[in-house]
Protein backbone atom coordinates (compact mmCIF):
# COMPACT_ATOMS: atom_id res chain seq x y z
CA UNK A 1 0.00 0.00 0.00
CA UNK A 2 2.65 2.50 1.00
CA UNK A 3 4.69 1.68 -2.11
CA UNK A 4 1.70 2.38 -4.30
CA UNK A 5 1.30 5.65 -2.45
CA UNK A 6 4.86 6.72 -3.10
CA UNK A 7 4.58 5.86 -6.76
CA UNK A 8 1.40 7.84 -7.06
CA UNK A 9 2.96 10.86 -5.40
CA UNK A 10 6.03 10.68 -7.61
CA UNK A 11 3.98 10.75 -10.79
CA UNK A 12 2.29 13.88 -9.50
CA UNK A 13 5.73 15.41 -9.00
CA UNK A 14 4.61 16.34 -5.54
CA UNK A 15 7.94 16.60 -3.72
CA UNK A 16 8.73 20.06 -2.54
CA UNK A 17 12.40 19.79 -3.46
CA UNK A 18 13.46 19.78 -7.08
CA UNK A 19 13.67 16.16 -8.18
CA UNK A 20 15.42 15.63 -11.52
CA UNK A 21 14.25 13.11 -14.03
CA UNK A 22 15.71 9.60 -13.71
CA UNK A 23 16.90 9.85 -17.32
CA UNK A 24 19.04 12.86 -16.37
CA UNK A 25 20.37 11.13 -13.25
CA UNK A 26 21.28 8.02 -15.21
CA UNK A 27 22.85 9.88 -18.12
CA UNK A 28 26.21 8.66 -19.34
CA UNK A 29 28.05 11.73 -17.99
CA UNK A 30 26.76 11.05 -14.51
CA UNK A 31 27.30 7.33 -14.04
CA UNK A 32 30.45 6.69 -16.08
CA UNK A 33 33.97 7.95 -15.65
CA UNK A 34 35.43 9.50 -18.83
CA UNK A 35 37.57 7.21 -20.94
CA UNK A 36 41.09 6.99 -19.55
CA UNK A 37 40.38 9.00 -16.38
CA UNK A 38 42.48 8.07 -13.40
CA UNK A 39 44.88 5.92 -15.42
CA UNK A 40 47.71 8.36 -14.76
CA UNK A 41 47.09 8.25 -11.02
CA UNK A 42 46.71 4.50 -11.15
CA UNK A 43 50.03 4.02 -12.96
CA UNK A 44 51.73 6.36 -10.51
CA UNK A 45 50.30 4.47 -7.52
CA UNK A 46 51.19 1.06 -8.95
CA UNK A 47 54.71 2.24 -9.78
CA UNK A 48 55.21 3.80 -6.34
CA UNK A 49 53.84 0.62 -4.75
CA UNK A 50 56.28 -1.51 -6.72
CA UNK A 51 59.20 0.69 -5.69
CA UNK A 52 58.08 0.54 -2.05
CA UNK A 53 57.91 -3.25 -2.14
CA UNK A 54 61.40 -3.39 -3.67
CA UNK A 55 62.59 -1.18 -0.81
CA UNK A 56 60.91 -3.64 1.56
CA UNK A 57 63.00 -6.40 0.06
CA UNK A 58 66.09 -4.24 0.63
CA UNK A 59 64.92 -3.75 4.22
CA UNK A 60 64.63 -7.49 4.60
CA UNK A 61 68.32 -7.77 3.78
CA UNK A 62 69.28 -4.88 6.08
CA UNK A 63 67.17 -5.65 9.15
CA UNK A 64 66.33 -9.32 8.73
CA UNK A 65 63.34 -10.85 6.96
CA UNK A 66 61.25 -11.01 10.13
CA UNK A 67 60.84 -7.25 10.23
CA UNK A 68 60.08 -7.06 6.53
CA UNK A 69 57.59 -9.92 6.73
CA UNK A 70 55.81 -8.38 9.70
CA UNK A 71 55.53 -4.98 8.02
CA UNK A 72 54.33 -6.57 4.81
CA UNK A 73 51.79 -8.65 6.74
CA UNK A 74 50.33 -5.45 8.25
CA UNK A 75 49.73 -4.05 4.78
CA UNK A 76 48.35 -7.28 3.37
CA UNK A 77 45.98 -7.85 6.28
CA UNK A 78 44.74 -4.26 5.94
CA UNK A 79 43.86 -4.57 2.24
CA UNK A 80 42.51 -8.11 2.65
CA UNK A 81 40.25 -6.78 5.40
CA UNK A 82 39.03 -3.97 3.15
CA UNK A 83 38.09 -6.41 0.38
CA UNK A 84 36.47 -8.90 2.73
CA UNK A 85 34.61 -6.16 4.56
CA UNK A 86 33.26 -4.95 1.21
CA UNK A 87 32.15 -8.51 0.39
CA UNK A 88 30.31 -8.60 3.70
CA UNK A 89 28.61 -5.29 2.84
CA UNK A 90 27.50 -6.63 -0.55
CA UNK A 91 26.07 -9.80 0.96
CA UNK A 92 24.33 -8.01 3.80
CA UNK A 93 22.71 -5.66 1.27
CA UNK A 94 21.36 -8.64 -0.65
CA UNK A 95 20.25 -10.45 2.49
CA UNK A 96 18.32 -7.51 3.87
CA UNK A 97 16.93 -6.64 0.42
CA UNK A 98 18.29 -3.14 1.03
CA UNK A 99 16.79 -0.52 -1.25
CA UNK A 100 18.69 2.65 -0.47
CA UNK A 101 22.13 1.08 -0.94
CA UNK A 102 21.60 0.09 -4.57
CA UNK A 103 23.36 3.18 -5.90
CA UNK A 104 26.40 2.64 -3.70
CA UNK A 105 26.54 -1.15 -4.10
CA UNK A 106 28.70 -1.15 -7.22
CA UNK A 107 31.47 0.63 -5.32
CA UNK A 108 31.28 -2.06 -2.60
CA UNK A 109 31.52 -4.61 -5.39
CA UNK A 110 34.53 -2.82 -6.89
CA UNK A 111 36.38 -3.03 -3.59
CA UNK A 112 35.28 -6.66 -3.24
CA UNK A 113 36.50 -7.41 -6.76
CA UNK A 114 40.05 -6.59 -5.66
CA UNK A 115 40.02 -9.73 -3.53
CA UNK A 116 42.17 -11.63 -6.07
CA UNK A 117 44.78 -8.86 -5.79
CA UNK A 118 44.73 -9.03 -1.98
CA UNK A 119 45.10 -12.81 -2.19
CA UNK A 120 47.95 -12.46 -4.70
CA UNK A 121 49.69 -10.16 -2.24
CA UNK A 122 49.06 -12.62 0.59
CA UNK A 123 50.39 -15.75 -1.14
CA UNK A 124 54.11 -14.73 -1.16
CA UNK A 125 53.88 -14.09 2.57
CA UNK A 126 52.32 -17.49 3.30
CA UNK A 127 54.75 -19.32 1.04
CA UNK A 128 57.74 -17.54 2.61
CA UNK A 129 56.48 -18.52 6.06
CA UNK A 130 56.43 -22.14 5.02
CA UNK A 131 59.77 -22.28 3.19
CA UNK A 132 62.08 -19.83 4.98
CA UNK A 133 64.65 -21.19 7.45
CA UNK A 134 63.68 -21.22 11.12
CA UNK A 135 65.41 -18.06 12.29
CA UNK A 136 63.74 -15.96 9.58
CA UNK A 137 60.20 -17.11 10.28
CA UNK A 138 57.70 -14.69 11.73
CA UNK A 139 55.29 -17.40 12.86
CA UNK A 140 56.90 -18.99 15.87
CA UNK A 141 55.02 -22.27 15.91
CA UNK A 142 56.50 -23.16 12.50
CA UNK A 143 60.03 -23.13 13.87
CA UNK A 144 61.45 -26.60 14.52
CA UNK A 145 62.97 -25.54 17.88
CA UNK A 146 59.46 -24.72 19.12
CA UNK A 147 58.00 -28.11 18.32
CA UNK A 148 58.85 -29.43 21.79
CA UNK A 149 56.71 -26.76 23.49
CA UNK A 150 54.04 -28.39 25.64
CA UNK A 151 51.23 -26.05 24.57
CA UNK A 152 52.17 -26.36 20.92
CA UNK A 153 52.16 -30.15 21.15
CA UNK A 154 48.64 -29.97 22.57
CA UNK A 155 47.61 -27.75 19.64
CA UNK A 156 49.60 -29.64 17.00
CA UNK A 157 46.52 -31.29 15.50
CA UNK A 158 45.45 -27.83 14.30
CA UNK A 159 48.69 -25.89 14.18
CA UNK A 160 50.75 -27.85 11.68
CA UNK A 161 52.09 -26.74 8.32
CA UNK A 162 50.11 -29.17 6.16
CA UNK A 163 46.73 -28.34 7.67
CA UNK A 164 47.69 -24.64 7.68
CA UNK A 165 48.29 -24.74 3.92
CA UNK A 166 45.11 -26.72 3.23
CA UNK A 167 43.07 -24.27 5.25
CA UNK A 168 44.61 -21.28 3.49
CA UNK A 169 43.64 -22.76 0.13
CA UNK A 170 40.14 -23.41 1.44
CA UNK A 171 39.59 -19.85 2.74
CA UNK A 172 40.93 -18.26 -0.39
CA UNK A 173 38.83 -20.60 -2.53
CA UNK A 174 35.65 -19.71 -0.64
CA UNK A 175 36.30 -15.97 -0.88
CA UNK A 176 37.23 -15.95 -4.53
CA UNK A 177 34.21 -18.07 -5.39
CA UNK A 178 31.81 -15.86 -3.43
CA UNK A 179 33.27 -12.65 -4.83
CA UNK A 180 33.18 -14.03 -8.38
CA UNK A 181 29.54 -15.10 -8.09
CA UNK A 182 28.37 -11.86 -6.47
CA UNK A 183 30.18 -9.79 -9.07
CA UNK A 184 28.81 -11.86 -11.95
CA UNK A 185 25.20 -11.64 -10.76
CA UNK A 186 25.48 -7.86 -10.58
CA UNK A 187 27.13 -7.23 -13.95
CA UNK A 188 24.94 -9.80 -15.69
CA UNK A 189 21.95 -7.78 -14.55
CA UNK A 190 23.58 -4.62 -15.95
CA UNK A 191 23.70 -6.31 -19.32
CA UNK A 192 20.48 -8.34 -19.45
CA UNK A 193 18.19 -6.56 -17.00
CA UNK A 194 17.16 -9.96 -15.69
CA UNK A 195 15.52 -9.43 -12.30
CA UNK A 196 16.12 -13.00 -11.18
CA UNK A 197 19.80 -12.10 -10.76
CA UNK A 198 18.78 -10.12 -7.67
CA UNK A 199 17.00 -13.15 -6.26
CA UNK A 200 19.94 -15.41 -7.10
CA UNK A 201 22.42 -13.08 -5.43
CA UNK A 202 20.16 -12.94 -2.42
CA UNK A 203 19.84 -16.70 -2.22
CA UNK A 204 23.58 -17.30 -2.46
CA UNK A 205 24.21 -14.66 0.20
CA UNK A 206 22.41 -16.83 2.75
CA UNK A 207 24.88 -19.71 2.75
CA UNK A 208 27.58 -17.31 1.54
CA UNK A 209 27.33 -15.37 4.79
CA UNK A 210 27.88 -18.52 6.84
CA UNK A 211 30.81 -19.58 4.66
CA UNK A 212 32.23 -16.07 4.89
CA UNK A 213 31.87 -15.87 8.68
CA UNK A 214 33.52 -19.24 9.30
CA UNK A 215 36.34 -18.73 6.80
CA UNK A 216 37.08 -15.23 8.09
CA UNK A 217 37.07 -16.50 11.67
CA UNK A 218 39.53 -19.32 11.02
CA UNK A 219 41.68 -17.19 8.73
CA UNK A 220 41.99 -14.64 11.53
CA UNK A 221 43.04 -17.45 13.89
CA UNK A 222 45.61 -18.76 11.42
CA UNK A 223 47.20 -15.60 10.13
CA UNK A 224 46.96 -13.18 13.04
CA UNK A 225 46.16 -14.92 16.33
CA UNK A 226 48.62 -17.78 15.82
CA UNK A 227 51.51 -15.31 15.58
CA UNK A 228 51.58 -16.02 19.32
CA UNK A 229 50.57 -19.66 19.45
CA UNK A 230 50.11 -19.64 23.24
CA UNK A 231 47.51 -16.90 23.04
CA UNK A 232 43.84 -17.64 22.46
CA UNK A 233 40.70 -15.52 22.42
CA UNK A 234 37.30 -16.59 21.15
CA UNK A 235 36.46 -12.94 20.51
CA UNK A 236 39.35 -12.58 18.10
CA UNK A 237 37.45 -13.17 14.81
CA UNK A 238 34.77 -10.66 15.77
CA UNK A 239 37.46 -8.10 16.53
CA UNK A 240 39.11 -8.67 13.15
CA UNK A 241 35.73 -8.61 11.40
CA UNK A 242 34.75 -5.33 13.08
CA UNK A 243 38.01 -3.73 11.95
CA UNK A 244 37.64 -5.10 8.42
CA UNK A 245 34.15 -3.71 7.86
CA UNK A 246 35.18 -0.46 9.55
CA UNK A 247 38.01 -0.02 7.06
CA UNK A 248 35.98 -1.04 4.00
CA UNK A 249 33.35 1.56 4.91
CA UNK A 250 36.19 4.06 5.02
CA UNK A 251 37.38 3.05 1.54
CA UNK A 252 33.80 3.21 0.27
CA UNK A 253 33.33 6.75 1.60
CA UNK A 254 36.61 7.87 0.02
CA UNK A 255 35.71 6.36 -3.37
CA UNK A 256 32.24 7.93 -3.34
CA UNK A 257 33.55 11.31 -2.23
CA UNK A 258 36.18 11.28 -4.98
CA UNK A 259 33.57 10.48 -7.61
CA UNK A 260 31.24 13.18 -6.30
CA UNK A 261 34.05 15.72 -6.19
CA UNK A 262 34.68 15.02 -9.87
CA UNK A 263 31.01 15.66 -10.61
CA UNK A 264 29.86 12.08 -10.93
CA UNK A 265 26.82 10.45 -9.25
CA UNK A 266 25.10 13.83 -8.84
CA UNK A 267 21.63 13.16 -7.47
CA UNK A 268 22.36 9.43 -7.55
CA UNK A 269 24.36 9.27 -4.35
CA UNK A 270 23.01 12.17 -2.32
CA UNK A 271 23.61 13.54 1.14
CA UNK A 272 20.82 11.21 2.29
CA UNK A 273 22.93 8.20 1.29
CA UNK A 274 25.90 9.86 2.96
CA UNK A 275 23.88 10.30 6.12
CA UNK A 276 23.18 6.57 6.29
CA UNK A 277 26.73 5.64 5.30
CA UNK A 278 27.94 7.86 8.13
CA UNK A 279 25.64 6.03 10.53
CA UNK A 280 27.19 2.72 9.45
CA UNK A 281 30.70 4.08 9.97
CA UNK A 282 29.67 5.35 13.40
CA UNK A 283 28.15 2.01 14.36
CA UNK A 284 31.20 0.00 13.30
CA UNK A 285 33.46 2.32 15.26
CA UNK A 286 31.33 1.64 18.34
CA UNK A 287 31.14 -2.07 17.52
CA UNK A 288 34.93 -2.31 17.26
CA UNK A 289 35.33 -0.53 20.60
CA UNK A 290 32.76 -2.80 22.24
CA UNK A 291 34.50 -5.96 21.02
CA UNK A 292 38.01 -4.64 21.70
CA UNK A 293 37.08 -3.70 25.24
CA UNK A 294 35.19 -6.95 25.89
CA UNK A 295 38.18 -9.01 24.77
CA UNK A 296 40.56 -7.00 26.89
CA UNK A 297 38.22 -6.88 29.89
CA UNK A 298 37.67 -10.64 30.15
CA UNK A 299 41.38 -11.35 29.78
CA UNK A 300 42.21 -8.68 32.35
CA UNK A 301 39.77 -10.17 34.87
CA UNK A 302 40.53 -13.86 34.41
CA UNK A 303 44.28 -13.20 34.49
CA UNK A 304 45.43 -16.40 32.74
CA UNK A 305 49.12 -16.07 31.81
CA UNK A 306 48.87 -17.29 28.18
CA UNK A 307 46.19 -14.68 27.55
CA UNK A 308 47.53 -11.76 29.54
CA UNK A 309 50.91 -12.08 27.81
CA UNK A 310 49.29 -10.64 24.71
CA UNK A 311 48.19 -7.49 26.50
CA UNK A 312 51.24 -7.32 28.74
CA UNK A 313 53.40 -7.07 25.64
CA UNK A 314 51.23 -4.22 24.32
CA UNK A 315 51.09 -2.30 27.58
CA UNK A 316 54.82 -2.16 28.26
CA UNK A 317 57.95 -1.06 26.44
CA UNK A 318 56.47 1.95 24.67
CA UNK A 319 53.45 0.15 23.24
CA UNK A 320 51.14 1.48 25.95
CA UNK A 321 50.99 4.90 24.26
CA UNK A 322 49.94 3.27 20.98
CA UNK A 323 47.29 1.23 22.83
CA UNK A 324 45.87 4.38 24.40
CA UNK A 325 46.03 6.23 21.08
CA UNK A 326 44.10 3.39 19.41
CA UNK A 327 41.30 3.55 21.98
CA UNK A 328 41.15 7.31 21.48
CA UNK A 329 41.50 7.38 17.71
CA UNK A 330 39.74 4.21 16.60
CA UNK A 331 36.74 4.88 18.83
CA UNK A 332 36.69 8.28 20.51
CA UNK A 333 37.41 10.53 17.52
CA UNK A 334 34.96 8.92 15.01
CA UNK A 335 32.33 8.60 17.75
CA UNK A 336 32.19 12.25 18.70
CA UNK A 337 32.70 13.59 15.17
CA UNK A 338 30.13 11.31 13.55
CA UNK A 339 27.52 12.18 16.19
CA UNK A 340 26.95 15.34 14.17
CA UNK A 341 24.60 15.09 11.25
CA UNK A 342 26.34 17.86 9.30
CA UNK A 343 29.56 15.82 9.16
CA UNK A 344 27.76 12.69 7.98
CA UNK A 345 26.03 14.61 5.20
CA UNK A 346 29.16 16.40 3.99
CA UNK A 347 31.19 14.96 1.09
CA UNK A 348 34.48 16.36 2.36
CA UNK A 349 33.67 15.83 6.04
CA UNK A 350 32.86 12.15 5.70
CA UNK A 351 35.88 11.58 3.46
CA UNK A 352 38.13 13.22 6.06
CA UNK A 353 36.73 10.96 8.78
CA UNK A 354 37.17 7.99 6.42
CA UNK A 355 40.87 8.78 5.87
CA UNK A 356 41.33 8.97 9.62
CA UNK A 357 39.50 5.65 10.02
CA UNK A 358 41.77 3.93 7.49
CA UNK A 359 44.82 5.29 9.28
CA UNK A 360 43.50 3.97 12.59
CA UNK A 361 42.66 0.58 11.10
CA UNK A 362 46.20 0.17 9.78
CA UNK A 363 47.55 1.20 13.19
CA UNK A 364 45.27 -1.43 14.72
CA UNK A 365 46.74 -4.20 12.52
CA UNK A 366 50.21 -2.78 13.20
CA UNK A 367 49.45 -3.02 16.91
CA UNK A 368 48.38 -6.65 16.49
CA UNK A 369 51.33 -7.81 14.35
CA UNK A 370 54.33 -5.67 15.19
CA UNK A 371 54.86 -6.35 18.91
CA UNK A 372 55.29 -10.04 18.06
CA UNK A 373 58.60 -9.26 16.37
CA UNK A 374 59.76 -6.41 18.57
CA UNK A 375 59.36 -8.46 21.74
CA UNK A 376 62.79 -10.04 21.36
CA UNK A 377 64.65 -7.32 19.48
CA UNK A 378 67.00 -4.56 20.65
CA UNK A 379 65.68 -1.18 21.65
CA UNK A 380 66.94 0.57 18.51
CA UNK A 381 64.51 -1.49 16.45
CA UNK A 382 61.47 -0.58 18.51
CA UNK A 383 58.78 1.63 16.93
CA UNK A 384 60.35 4.95 16.16
CA UNK A 385 63.70 3.19 15.94
CA UNK A 386 65.51 2.53 12.71
CA UNK A 387 63.09 -0.07 11.30
CA UNK A 388 60.16 2.32 11.24
CA UNK A 389 61.05 3.24 7.64
CA UNK A 390 60.59 -0.42 6.76
CA UNK A 391 57.06 -0.37 8.20
CA UNK A 392 56.26 2.76 6.25
CA UNK A 393 57.48 1.50 2.86
CA UNK A 394 55.97 -1.98 3.24
CA UNK A 395 52.52 -0.74 4.32
CA UNK A 396 52.53 2.16 1.86
CA UNK A 397 53.62 -0.19 -0.93
CA UNK A 398 50.76 -2.61 -0.43
CA UNK A 399 48.25 0.23 0.00
CA UNK A 400 49.50 2.03 -3.11
CA UNK A 401 49.13 -1.09 -5.24
CA UNK A 402 45.62 -1.61 -3.84
CA UNK A 403 44.71 2.03 -4.47
CA UNK A 404 46.06 1.95 -8.01
CA UNK A 405 44.12 -1.19 -8.83
CA UNK A 406 40.99 0.25 -7.21
CA UNK A 407 41.12 3.40 -9.35
CA UNK A 408 41.42 1.25 -12.48
CA UNK A 409 38.55 -0.95 -11.32
CA UNK A 410 36.26 1.98 -10.54
CA UNK A 411 36.95 3.77 -13.81
CA UNK A 412 36.58 0.63 -15.92
CA UNK A 413 32.81 0.31 -15.72
CA UNK A 414 29.49 1.85 -14.81
CA UNK A 415 29.46 3.46 -11.35
CA UNK A 416 26.12 2.04 -10.19
CA UNK A 417 24.31 -1.23 -10.89
CA UNK A 418 21.96 -0.83 -13.84
CA UNK A 419 18.52 -2.44 -14.02
CA UNK A 420 18.33 -3.27 -10.33
CA UNK A 421 14.64 -3.62 -9.36
CA UNK A 422 15.20 -1.43 -6.29
CA UNK A 423 16.94 1.37 -8.19
CA UNK A 424 14.06 3.84 -8.05
CA UNK A 425 13.82 3.31 -4.31
CA UNK A 426 17.52 4.17 -3.97
CA UNK A 427 17.18 7.28 -6.17
CA UNK A 428 14.22 8.52 -4.10
CA UNK A 429 15.91 7.71 -0.79
CA UNK A 430 15.32 10.25 1.94
CA UNK A 431 15.79 9.98 5.68
CA UNK A 432 13.15 11.03 8.15
CA UNK A 433 13.52 14.52 9.52
Amino acid sequence: MSHATTAQLDTHGGHDHHEPDARVLLSRENIYVPEGAGIGFSNLALGAGGVCLLLTAVGAVLHGPKHALASYLVGVMAVLGMSLGAMFLVMVQHLTNAGWTVTIRRQCENIMALLPLAVALLIPYLVLQLVLPDDMKLVQWMRSDMKGDYLLQKKAAYLNETFFAIRAVLYVGIWLFLAHRLWNHSVTQDRTGDRTETAKARRMSTWGMFAFALSLAFASFDWLMSLDFRFFSTMWPVYIFAGAVFSSLGVLAIVLSTLRTFGRLTGVVTEEHYHDLGKLMFSFSVFWAYIAFSQYFLIWYSNIPEETAYYFRRMTGGWESLSAFLAFGHFGVPFFILLFRNVKKSTIGLAAVAVWMLFMHILDIFWIVRPMVYASTPADQMPGGITIWLDIVAIAGVLAIFAGALVRKVSSGVLIPLNDPRQSEALAHRNYV
Binding site: S2, T5, G14, D16, Y301, V433
Partner: protein, 205 residues
Protein backbone atom coordinates in the same frame (compact mmCIF):
# COMPACT_ATOMS: atom_id res chain seq x y z
CA UNK B 1 21.03 23.19 13.73
CA UNK B 2 17.40 24.04 13.37
CA UNK B 3 15.44 22.71 16.31
CA UNK B 4 11.92 23.70 17.35
CA UNK B 5 10.06 23.17 20.59
CA UNK B 6 6.70 21.71 19.55
CA UNK B 7 4.64 22.68 22.59
CA UNK B 8 3.42 25.81 24.35
CA UNK B 9 2.68 26.77 27.95
CA UNK B 10 -0.96 26.02 27.24
CA UNK B 11 -0.07 22.37 26.56
CA UNK B 12 1.73 22.11 29.87
CA UNK B 13 -1.28 23.64 31.62
CA UNK B 14 -3.34 20.60 30.58
CA UNK B 15 -1.26 18.44 32.90
CA UNK B 16 -1.16 20.63 35.97
CA UNK B 17 -4.51 21.01 37.79
CA UNK B 18 -4.04 24.49 39.29
CA UNK B 19 -2.84 26.02 36.02
CA UNK B 20 -5.67 27.43 33.91
CA UNK B 21 -5.55 27.09 30.16
CA UNK B 22 -5.93 30.40 28.39
CA UNK B 23 -9.41 30.51 26.85
CA UNK B 24 -9.60 30.07 23.09
CA UNK B 25 -10.29 33.03 20.84
CA UNK B 26 -13.15 31.41 18.94
CA UNK B 27 -16.45 30.02 20.16
CA UNK B 28 -19.09 28.03 18.24
CA UNK B 29 -22.74 29.20 18.06
CA UNK B 30 -23.45 26.56 20.70
CA UNK B 31 -21.13 28.39 23.11
CA UNK B 32 -18.32 25.85 23.02
CA UNK B 33 -14.68 26.69 22.44
CA UNK B 34 -13.28 25.80 19.01
CA UNK B 35 -10.51 23.23 19.12
CA UNK B 36 -9.66 22.95 15.45
CA UNK B 37 -10.84 22.98 11.87
CA UNK B 38 -10.93 19.46 10.48
CA UNK B 39 -10.80 18.75 6.75
CA UNK B 40 -11.41 15.39 5.11
CA UNK B 41 -9.57 14.05 2.02
CA UNK B 42 -10.15 10.94 -0.02
CA UNK B 43 -6.67 9.97 -1.22
CA UNK B 44 -3.13 10.10 0.15
CA UNK B 45 -2.02 12.25 -2.79
CA UNK B 46 -4.75 14.82 -2.02
CA UNK B 47 -3.81 15.09 1.63
CA UNK B 48 -0.11 15.23 0.72
CA UNK B 49 -0.55 18.20 -1.60
CA UNK B 50 -2.98 19.89 0.81
CA UNK B 51 -0.35 19.52 3.54
CA UNK B 52 2.14 21.33 1.32
CA UNK B 53 -0.34 24.20 0.89
CA UNK B 54 -1.00 24.45 4.63
CA UNK B 55 2.74 24.41 5.30
CA UNK B 56 3.35 27.13 2.71
CA UNK B 57 0.50 29.24 4.18
CA UNK B 58 2.62 29.45 7.35
CA UNK B 59 0.59 27.48 9.87
CA UNK B 60 2.60 25.96 12.73
CA UNK B 61 0.16 24.08 14.95
CA UNK B 62 -1.58 21.51 12.82
CA UNK B 63 -1.44 17.81 12.04
CA UNK B 64 -2.25 15.26 9.36
CA UNK B 65 -4.06 12.05 10.33
CA UNK B 66 -3.85 9.02 8.03
CA UNK B 67 -4.75 5.31 8.28
CA UNK B 68 -1.21 4.32 7.29
CA UNK B 69 2.19 6.00 7.01
CA UNK B 70 2.64 8.17 3.92
CA UNK B 71 6.25 8.39 2.76
CA UNK B 72 7.66 11.88 2.72
CA UNK B 73 4.68 13.42 4.49
CA UNK B 74 6.97 14.94 7.11
CA UNK B 75 8.65 16.92 4.33
CA UNK B 76 5.31 17.98 2.87
CA UNK B 77 4.30 19.16 6.33
CA UNK B 78 7.61 20.95 6.84
CA UNK B 79 8.20 19.29 10.19
CA UNK B 80 11.39 20.57 11.78
CA UNK B 81 13.99 18.39 13.42
CA UNK B 82 13.15 17.35 16.96
CA UNK B 83 15.20 18.35 19.99
CA UNK B 84 15.02 14.75 21.24
CA UNK B 85 18.62 13.84 20.19
CA UNK B 86 19.96 16.67 22.34
CA UNK B 87 17.88 15.47 25.29
CA UNK B 88 18.97 11.83 24.82
CA UNK B 89 22.62 12.71 24.27
CA UNK B 90 23.03 15.07 27.17
CA UNK B 91 21.15 12.93 29.68
CA UNK B 92 22.98 9.81 28.39
CA UNK B 93 26.39 11.43 28.86
CA UNK B 94 25.23 12.74 32.24
CA UNK B 95 24.22 9.21 33.21
CA UNK B 96 27.61 7.87 32.20
CA UNK B 97 29.33 10.55 34.26
CA UNK B 98 27.04 9.71 37.18
CA UNK B 99 27.98 6.01 36.90
CA UNK B 100 31.69 6.82 36.93
CA UNK B 101 31.48 9.21 39.88
CA UNK B 102 29.27 6.78 41.79
CA UNK B 103 31.86 3.99 41.53
CA UNK B 104 34.76 6.29 42.30
CA UNK B 105 33.00 7.60 45.39
CA UNK B 106 32.03 4.14 46.66
CA UNK B 107 35.51 2.76 46.07
CA UNK B 108 37.06 5.75 47.82
CA UNK B 109 34.85 5.47 50.90
CA UNK B 110 34.69 1.70 51.09
CA UNK B 111 37.62 0.07 49.29
CA UNK B 112 37.36 -3.70 48.82
CA UNK B 113 40.06 -5.87 47.34
CA UNK B 114 38.55 -7.91 44.50
CA UNK B 115 40.78 -10.56 42.94
CA UNK B 116 43.86 -8.56 43.88
CA UNK B 117 42.99 -5.91 41.31
CA UNK B 118 43.83 -2.24 41.92
CA UNK B 119 41.12 -0.12 43.58
CA UNK B 120 41.03 2.59 40.98
CA UNK B 121 41.30 0.44 37.84
CA UNK B 122 39.28 1.86 34.96
CA UNK B 123 38.45 -1.58 33.57
CA UNK B 124 35.72 -2.72 36.01
CA UNK B 125 34.31 0.83 36.05
CA UNK B 126 33.69 0.78 32.31
CA UNK B 127 30.71 -1.63 32.09
CA UNK B 128 28.80 0.18 34.84
CA UNK B 129 29.58 3.59 33.31
CA UNK B 130 28.48 2.32 29.91
CA UNK B 131 25.29 0.67 31.18
CA UNK B 132 24.22 3.68 33.24
CA UNK B 133 24.84 5.87 30.21
CA UNK B 134 22.65 3.59 28.07
CA UNK B 135 19.97 3.34 30.76
CA UNK B 136 19.70 7.11 31.17
CA UNK B 137 19.78 7.61 27.42
CA UNK B 138 16.98 5.07 26.88
CA UNK B 139 14.76 6.55 29.57
CA UNK B 140 15.45 10.10 28.41
CA UNK B 141 14.52 9.10 24.86
CA UNK B 142 11.31 7.30 25.82
CA UNK B 143 10.08 9.87 28.34
CA UNK B 144 11.25 12.77 26.17
CA UNK B 145 9.41 11.35 23.16
CA UNK B 146 6.21 10.96 25.17
CA UNK B 147 6.53 14.46 26.65
CA UNK B 148 7.20 16.10 23.28
CA UNK B 149 4.16 14.33 21.86
CA UNK B 150 1.98 15.46 24.76
CA UNK B 151 1.50 11.88 25.91
CA UNK B 152 0.10 10.20 27.89
CA UNK B 153 -3.35 11.80 27.83
CA UNK B 154 -6.85 10.51 28.52
CA UNK B 155 -8.69 12.17 25.72
CA UNK B 156 -8.24 14.45 22.76
CA UNK B 157 -10.88 16.91 21.52
CA UNK B 158 -10.37 15.72 17.93
CA UNK B 159 -12.39 12.59 18.80
CA UNK B 160 -15.45 14.81 19.25
CA UNK B 161 -15.79 14.59 15.47
CA UNK B 162 -17.69 11.50 14.31
CA UNK B 163 -16.26 11.68 10.82
CA UNK B 164 -12.78 11.50 12.29
CA UNK B 165 -13.38 7.83 13.16
CA UNK B 166 -12.85 6.98 9.49
CA UNK B 167 -9.25 8.12 9.94
CA UNK B 168 -8.46 4.55 10.98
CA UNK B 169 -10.16 3.22 7.86
CA UNK B 170 -10.22 5.03 4.52
CA UNK B 171 -10.11 8.80 5.04
CA UNK B 172 -7.28 11.32 5.44
CA UNK B 173 -7.59 14.39 7.66
CA UNK B 174 -5.88 17.70 8.24
CA UNK B 175 -6.62 19.42 11.53
CA UNK B 176 -5.50 23.02 12.06
CA UNK B 177 -5.39 23.89 15.74
CA UNK B 178 -7.26 26.96 17.03
CA UNK B 179 -4.18 27.74 19.13
CA UNK B 180 -2.21 28.56 15.99
CA UNK B 181 -1.25 32.23 15.86
CA UNK B 182 -2.57 32.55 12.31
CA UNK B 183 -5.84 30.72 13.03
CA UNK B 184 -9.04 32.32 11.76
CA UNK B 185 -11.91 29.85 11.12
CA UNK B 186 -13.11 31.27 7.82
CA UNK B 187 -9.61 31.75 6.35
CA UNK B 188 -8.69 28.21 7.38
CA UNK B 189 -11.87 26.82 5.84
CA UNK B 190 -11.20 28.65 2.58
CA UNK B 191 -7.62 27.44 2.48
CA UNK B 192 -8.55 23.81 3.09
CA UNK B 193 -11.38 23.87 0.58
CA UNK B 194 -9.09 25.38 -2.04
CA UNK B 195 -6.62 22.61 -1.21
CA UNK B 196 -9.23 20.05 -2.23
CA UNK B 197 -10.90 19.10 1.05
CA UNK B 198 -14.14 17.16 0.64
CA UNK B 199 -15.71 18.11 3.96
CA UNK B 200 -14.63 20.78 6.43
CA UNK B 201 -15.94 21.12 9.98
CA UNK B 202 -15.30 22.87 13.29
CA UNK B 203 -14.29 20.60 16.14
CA UNK B 204 -15.39 21.67 19.62
CA UNK B 205 -13.36 21.23 22.75
Amino acid sequence: MNFTIPFTLNDIADYIPFLKRKPGRYVTPGGKEVHAVLAEFKTPADVYHAAEKVRDAGYKRWDVHTPFPIHGLEHAMGIQRTILPLVSGSIGLGGAAFGLVLQWWITKDYPIVVQGKPFAAWEPFTPVTFELGILHCAFATLIGMLALNGLPRWHHPIFNSDRFLRCSDDRFFIAIDAADAKFEPNAVRTLLQSAGAGHVELVEV
